[in-house]
Amino acid sequence: MPFTSDLGGERHSFADLKAVLAAASPARSGDELAGIAAASATRRVAARWVLADLPLATFLNEALVPYESDEVTRLIIDSHDAAAFAPIAHLTVGGFRDWLLSEAADEAALAAVARGVTPEMAAAVSKLMRNQDLIAVAKKIRVVTAFRSTIGLPGRLSTRLQPNHPADDPRGIAAAVLDGLLHGVGDAVIGVNPATDSVPAATTLIRMLDELREAYAIPTQTCVLTHVTNALTIMERGAPVDLVFQSVAGSEAANAGFGIDLAVLRDAHAAALGLGRGTVGQNVMYFETGQGSALSANAHHGVDQQTMEARAYAVARAFDPLLVNTVVGFIGPEYLYDGKQIIRAGLEDHFCGKLLGLPMGCDVCYTNHAEADQDDMDSLMTLLTVAGCSFLICVPGSDDVMLSYQSLSNHDALYLRSVMGLRAAPEFEVWLAEAGIAAPDGSLRALADGASPLVRRLAETIS
């Protein structure tokens, strides 16, 4: 048996590479559901000893999901940058963990190796890292992207304004947009999940958001999170699409469950680039992911959910996205049972995404059937912000009235920017001041403050 460890006379053997990875993962309900979690706490540590001694190159030679039958594996292997990998090619997974934490792995060194790191390497090393390691390394990585605002600059924390409405009422959505803007939220994107995912419904919302953004010259991008095939149709018809959205997963079969493949993403990427709507950059894609999506589609190939999640980042990476976020606690307790598992997964996803070179954000969230509450979200958002998370999702009062789950509130963004001394994207920050939403010292005016003519005009238009 090639994968064994001896712990004081107690021998632990693992059938194959994916069994080592699954057993080495911190405990979570999704791996238990799949029947691949470590059978005991001791066995979990034994798997980590095995993993620590494996050469990083193992993951280039041994595919967890077959190359022949999975286009995500082919993407990962065929796009691997051997030159970028060279500086770390001699390392074991354990050695890679130590290198990542060392002073040698500074911002430039981490950027240089990003294209040499595969999702499986990132997932593997994360399993040997404590929460503080995930934070410390992610903090050193900088990924900057841009469209009408610039995401990921030092000292900045961006936010997605998520003004969902249960019946897609344009006035209700506009009211929630105004509420977010008055809290300084929306510099990453103003992004609506439509309740009705049809071409005409999405087109109506796209035009409404674009008119609002144009009328008030807001330096941000808008997005209606409709299926990529809808976005293609909508772009063909000439509607003003800023960002193309799609949920993506880590295997060809899981993506088929979403009704997509790499070819349709390529078409959409090319179409959105062709519109040339960005002003300070041309990153036109927005992806969401989440641990458990492959298993829920029965498309995980026996691989643990965190490794499958990292493989989704390879899909995202191929399309130079403006934004990528894990919707970490959305999927439910059968994949991430409680606050502890959600917090751990959020930190893993952020770390793996950043290590692979993605503009990684997070929807810090939970559902009402999970064992979690706002206190857990306070912890995760604070930890992620310390880790340099690119953007977070905010909904009014933490209550998404369309998707029926709890994300962060607009107030939470104020808290994070305040306690951590962070600011919005530079273009957006200038606009906030010009619009009278932020006071000259950068602090936000009170919500009911009618000092700004712009705010009053906007509110009256909507109401």
């Binding site: 309740a195 209550d399 029926s404 009256e460």
Partner: protein, 253 residues
Amino acid sequence: MSEVATGELWARLRRTTPARIALGRVGHALPLAEVLDFQLAHARARDAVHAALDTAALEAALAPLPVLHAESDAPDRAAYLRRPDLGRRLSARSAALLAKAAGHCDVVFVIADGLSATGVQAGAAELVQACTAELGDLTIGPIVIARQARVALGDPIGEALGARVCVTIIGERPGLSVHDSLGIYMTFAPRIGRTDAERNCISNIHGAGGLSPEDAARTLGWLLREALRRELSGVALKDDQTPTLPAEDPSRT
């Protein structure tokens, strides 16, 4: 702008959405009344998740429509929450019972408790009645009330009853503002192994600013006739008038 005028403006804005807008601030934090209001809503949603469906009362509300009962392989709520695979499988007892009722029909309705038995209890009978009124010219099989059920439990049920289309009405995961929302999932040629991309979804059917049963039934009527005509459902049924996929990330369903 006077304070009164500002207040009126925000009151008008709040009427446009059930979202928690214009909450005010204490420093950067929410006012305490908003914090406690949120905690109350969360507590109620948690309670709704764990409520049990009163199937006898639901059957009475559906009368005179013929009703069958079924349950998944999940023995209780705790198992249901941690093991979605069990919630998608028909119990051996139910499979045997449904086999006896095998036949042919255009549509089978499955009423599944899902994550809000509260919502199903309150609104499923009315929704079924609105849908059957839209589909008067089609043959409709017995209504199946399914406990501890996920969306995909409709696949073996529809297959067993020889339905060309399965329409599953399910209690959606409770939110803070709405804990009794229903969703409809339509699957052409239901059978074990269908993926979510092969279903069409109409979500957020409830009385607090969501879709009305009549509007949902109209949308379903159009989709269902198209599914029968084109012999497919899901992503491929995209068109210019109606919903296709679940709006959100499918991993979220």
